[in-house]
């Protein structure tokens, strides 16, 4: 079965009865069956649940002539990072602490996807508690990169990225606290979207770092990324940090300027990646979009700020796991979770608070000011997602500092709360995917989607599939 690239094409096929939602579920389950043993992308496959929903939706398509209008994601088979609570479906955060936890309620995002006609096919593997850049910190084994299974797919939303890249689901939900959507997207050749902080509710998603966590997703096309965002965003009355922003469509005649931050094209960036990212920038230039150099002078400090603020918030959030009301006790935490809890406790502890956490909160203000200054003259920033290609499984797992540095180009967006869109930009000579990201000011998603659609209209990297 050949499934089209965008959901609007799938929906046309469904309406014309070329295939049914049940056929789609059968197709994805059979792909999971064949590929998941190798890739380890799924922790739970919800076959019965998906069939029930698919049958229900097939009836809707037959009975309701306005089905697509009323259910914008109708027929979209999605996988969900196993950090989103799903009522009645085991949710582990890829940690042994929650290995048999079955939530009593669903996260807002999951409820919204289902109400919009999406079909949940399973829960995906990730770094435990979303702590990691490679997927190797899962307590249930690493996820493999489908482009070469000796390499990591990037993390923490490793299984979600792989499920879309390998055709195990149509789209997938992930979370991005420091790059956990954009990095695996760029390592697996899919579109990864991180919204503005405070636009998509975090309610019912296991918290990692509460001032940074962003609920985003993976798709093959920018068009579909935008469609999912239209469903997931907006006030839910449960996450008090969410605002209802009134997004306006970008005018078709709008002139854009894109900034190239010089600090992101500096020492440490792989020449192969630089070449592909600059080639992507040239695609925009060919459309008549002006490219200008911008400076984000505090870029190099973002990683320190992030690895102080994030573990501090992690140590607080993971304090609630005591094995009393749900889950196993704290002895079940894996190594990386313990490391971050202790690091966070250290930077917050008496005598060190001002030197680390206090200082980091101040430098965070400077990182934000860098972006504010840049966005006063450009509509978006174009940058690499990762300084290096996907690395081999095991290569960095004994060196936390090296692993943390993999996040160097992604964490600043989280510190500033701004949106980011990672897009496929081609492949290395070794055949591994390379991505780039567009960053915009808060609530500039329409601009990022518009630029992303323009880019995908003239490139075909996103249509390539791993063999």
């Amino acid at each position: 079965m050949n499934i089209p690239l965008s959901i609007s094409e799938v929906q046309n096929d469904l309406v014309q009865k070329k295939y049914s939602c049940v056929n789609l579920v059968e197709h994805y389950l059979s792909e999971i069956n064949t590929q998941n043993k190798t890739l380890n992308a799924f922790l739970t496959v919800t076959d019965e649940y998906a069939y029930t929903k698919a049958k229900e939706l097939d009836r809707v398509i037959t009975d309701n002539p306005h089905a697509i209008k009323e259910f914008p994601l109708l027929g979209m088979v999605v996988s969900i990072k196993d950090i989103y609570l799903t009522k009645g479906i085991r949710t582990t955060a890829a940690s042994k602490v929650l290995e048999s936890f079955v939530p009593q309620y669903s996260s807002t995002v999951v409820e919204r996807l289902e109400s919009a006609g999406a079909i949940i096919i399973g829960k995906t593997n990730c770094d435990a508690w979303a702590h990691g850049a490679s997927g190797e910190n899962s307590d249930f084994g690493a996820t493999k990169n489908p482009w070469n299974t000796e390499f990591v797919p990037g993390g923490s939303s490793s299984g979600s990225a792989v499920s879309v890249a390998s055709g195990l689901s149509f789209a997938s939900m992930g979370t991005d606290t420091g790059g956990s959507i954009r990095l695996p997207a760029s390592f697996t050749n899919v579109v990864g979207f991180k919204p503005t902080y405070g636009v998509v509710p975090r309610y019912g998603v296991i918290s990692m770092a509460s001032s940074l966590d962003s609920m985003g997703h993976f798709t093959k096309t920018v068009e579909d990324s935008e469609k999912i965002f239209a469903v997931t965003r907006g006030v839910d009355g449960r996450d008090s940090t969410v605002v209802n922003h009134s997004y306006k469509a970008v005018s078709p005649t709008q002139k854009f300027r894109i900034g190239m931050p010089k600090e992101y094209f500096a020492k440490g960036l792989s020449p192969e990646i630089e070449q592909k990212v600059r080639a992507a920038a040239q695609e925009f230039e060919k459309m008549g979009i002006e490219l200008v150099e911008v400076s984000l002078p505090h870029t190099k400090y973002a990683i320190s700020v992030y690895y102080i603020v994030q573990p501090a918030e992690v140590s607080s959030n993971l304090g609630r796991f005591d094995g009393i009301r749900f889950g196993n006790n704290r002895d079940s935490f894996g190594e990386e979770a313990k490391r971050r809890i202790m690091l966070g406790t250290y930077v917050l502890s008496s005598g060190y608070y001002d030197a680390y956490y206090g200082k980091a909160m101040k430098v965070r203000s400077l990182v934000i000011k860098d972006f504010d200054d840049a966005f006063s003259s450009v509509d978006a920033i174009l940058a690499p997602v990762s300084p290096s290609l996907p690395f081999k499984i095991g290569e960095k797992s004994d060196d936390p500092l090296q692993m943390y540095l993999a996040d160097i180009y992604t964490v600043a967006a989280n510190l500033a709360g701004i949106p980011g869109l990672a897009l496929p930009a081609g492949f290395s000579e070794s055949g591994l995917p390379i991505g780039f990201q567009l960053l915009g000011k808060r609530f500039s998603e329409p601009t990022l989607f518009e630029l992303g659609k323009k880019y995908q209209a003239v490139t075909d990297w996103h249509t390539k599939k791993p063999s």
Partner: protein, 100 residues
Amino acid sequence: MALSHDEVLHLAKLSKLTLSSEEVLHFADQLTPVVDYFRELNEIDTSNVPETSQTTGLVDVLRTDEVDASWVLSQEEALSQALKTHNGYFVVPAIFTRTS
């Protein structure tokens, strides 16, 4: 600045984590370069810079104090994931011990 083994043990105690003696050595070795790396922040003069703890700018978001019945777990649901319950309550480890 190296993290001492005593410091790691103290952090573990504050975090309610039990570490093996091997883990204490391991974490001391691994956390030291990370904490050292943070010292680069001292290069920046932040004397006139305000702190940022969140990016929304929202202050005191309140809701009306009303019970939303659709959002309340039954006692059975609330207890459904606990390893130990007794007469409709969660069982917690004892904090006090009987002395006499």
